[in-house]
């Protein structure tokens, strides 16, 4: 008679086992909410300045944002730790399959969630299907007043109106480091480079690196702190960002 063991559950390939490559650890306990990461990200990635009015209407275009919450009713309010929120570079991203144009796809090489600006036609389905709500849409062609146009990062595409964008884990920096390492005939070293947000964080609350390498700083941190949490893990999105809180 067939038993449950015959189903060989262990042989069912769980996508969870696949794991990521690049990852991030964010320590909410030491985040001061200073927004330096938000500013650095905007500079690095040529993010448009939306302006007060649109920003106030929910059209801010930050790839990383600091979420602040409080508990209780005024005046008895208690702040909870700040929560930097950015694209979680899901291993099984809900945003990817819903794009009719293949404008957001999974990178096999870097195990990242890519956004192909040139291919985007602006259906905004990906943004609806993102449980973390971390995608930004170019609602208009926002002007860059002089001299701001002079500080554009030449390594990053400038997006036009009608296009979706989101955090890339500073893929331009990843590629630069990889090219450099290749030219010198070696592997990319841990800590050789980092993302703009991690670089700018004065409290060192953000750490970026290879999560598939147990010796890297991110892996070490994750191990030492022990109780890292992933956001909305129950949805099976396999996020690559780990949060520490209350340790």
């Amino acid at each position: 008679m067939a038993t449950l063991n015959d189903l060989k559950i262990s042989e069912v390939k769980l996508s969870e086992g696949e794991g990521g490559k690049w990852g991030m650890v964010i320590d909410q306990d030491i985040c001061t909410g200073c927004q330096a990461c938000v500013a650095a990200c905007a500079m690095e990635n040529n993010i448009s300045f939306v302006g007060e009015e649109d920003s106030g209407y929910g059209r801010s275009m930050h790839w990383i944002r600091i979420e602040r919450f409080w508990e209780g009713e005024y005046p008895e309010v208690k702040m909870t730790p700040n929560q930097p929120m950015l694209c979680q570079q899901c291993g099984s991203a809900p945003c990817e399959p819903v794009c009719p144009a293949f404008a957001t796809v999974h990178s096999q090489a870097e195990k990242l969630n890519l956004q192909v600006y040139n291919r985007c036609v602006g259906t905004r389905y990906c943004a609806n299907n993102c449980p973390y709500q971390v995608r930004s849409f170019n609602w208009r062609d926002y002007k860059r007043p002089e001299p701001l146009a002079n500080q554009l990062n030449p390594d990053v595409t400038v997006r036009r109106r009608g296009v979706m964008e989101k955090c890339t884990f500073c893929i331009q920096r990843i590629h630069k480091a990889q090219d450099q390492a290749k030219a010198e005939g070696r592997e990319v070293m841990d800590g050789e480079f980092t993302t703009a947000c991690a670089q700018a964080c004065p409290a060192n609350a953000i750490t970026f690196g290879r999560t598939d390498d147990p010796r890297s700083l991110v892996s070490q941190l994750a191990k030492r702190r022990g109780h890292g949490a992933k956001h909305l893990e129950e949805l099976g999105t396999l996020p690559n960002v780990t949060y520490f809180k209350g340790g």
Binding site: D54, Y57, G58, R59, S60, R65, E67, R68, F69, Q83, M85, P94, P97, V98, C99, P100, A101, F102, R119, C120, V121, G122, T123, R124, Y125, A127, N128, N129, P131, Y132, Q133, S136, F137, N138, W139, R140, D141, R161, G162, V163, M164, L232, L235
Partner: protein, 473 residues
Amino acid sequence: MTDHKNHAEHAEAHLREKHLMLDPLPRGRMNEMVMESMRHITWKFWVVFGILAAISAYGLFYSWGVMIAEGLGVAGVNRPVYWGIFLVNTVFWIGISHAGTFISAILRVFKAEFRRPFTRAAELMTTFGLVQAGFSIFMHMGRVWLSYWLMPYPNQRLLWPNLHSPLSWDLLAITTYILGSTMYLFLPLIPDMAMARDRSTGWRKTLYKILALGFRGTEGEWTHLRNAMNIFAFAIIPVMFSVHTIVSWDFAAATRPGWSSTIFGPYFVIGALHSGMGAVITVLAIIRGTMKHMKYFIRPEHFDAIGKLMLIISMTWAYFFFNDYMVQWYGGDKWTKQLLHFHEAGPMGWMWFAMLVCNVVIPWAILWNPKWRSTPWLVSTVGIIINVGMWFERYIIVPISLTINRMPFTWRMYQPGIEIPLGIGTLAFFALLYMAASKLIPLIPVWEVQEGQMAHELKKFGRETVVTVSELE
């Protein structure tokens, strides 16, 4: 004895007066009436036509141009409400389009005889409604000038659309449906075009001559046409179901509270029929009230029959709505709970209750009564109310449900901007196309009416006179 005879005669006269199919006129006379209804254009027609043309020009074409030039910032969409009234209108218009197919295909397949005089009026709504749905979905796109990228076509870069996406299925389904329903509108029109060709002059003659394709009515032509219409009637029904099911999957396939519901497919299909039937009855009342000779073809019996269908559909809609609500409520997911609470008690709670009143309470209160549902103005008012209710339903599903997500930090209300003139523009453009068509193509399929009148007769069973139909096909 004579008293009894008188009574029987009276009953017979009453039946003949009531049913178009028992009140035949010579075919030549019916042709004349239909031709006259097209040719008869009053100054009032031109005034309304002009107003609608102006609204379409400003609301649809100018506003859309502004939005293409400025970007979607001129609309009210934001984070987290990435989809706004554009999607509401897309679903709404696709819903309207379902009535035409329902009437001309399902009722044809089941040989529901009351369909005969208004199959075309309903089919026209399908085609023109789908045009508005197409406008609405293209408006919604950030870079509409690149929308051809969604079509599968061979290209140098070997890029194909992503068929994992419900939006790609939508594109295939809506393309199939708009082509299918337009062809299905055209096929039964060919004999009527030949009829119009035979009795018109000048530019009309040229137009009908081209559109009649040289149809004479030979045995072969009729056989090919009948076969084709039969295939269409059966084949377009599953296409119709697939279209609105796929539209519902745009929502149901997403990982969002309130959207991820397995019952959305049939719930959307029945919702589409609900708004579609409401729209058909409204259009029929307008045609009957404004066009010449239409009181002969469209009678209270037709309003009664559609009214019954509306009542059944309203009950089915209520069943699906409750089913969807019940299971979501029972699931107890904290985000879904939050969303349901927001629907009912949030700032837009009035819309949630108005939806139930418009879709269930009012239709049930009026349509149960045969006399009331045979009254054109009353039942068409119910039709309009149902459409308001169904628009609210889509508004609740799209922008209101998008307000609540799993990231409370991003919760934000949606305030429509240029969507309003654009939405009114599609409504005006729909009416404009319909008005133009009502003067250019015979709205009544005369040959189908004549065929029906041949098939119907009165028969006596004992003392009672009843209507009988013979199957001619």
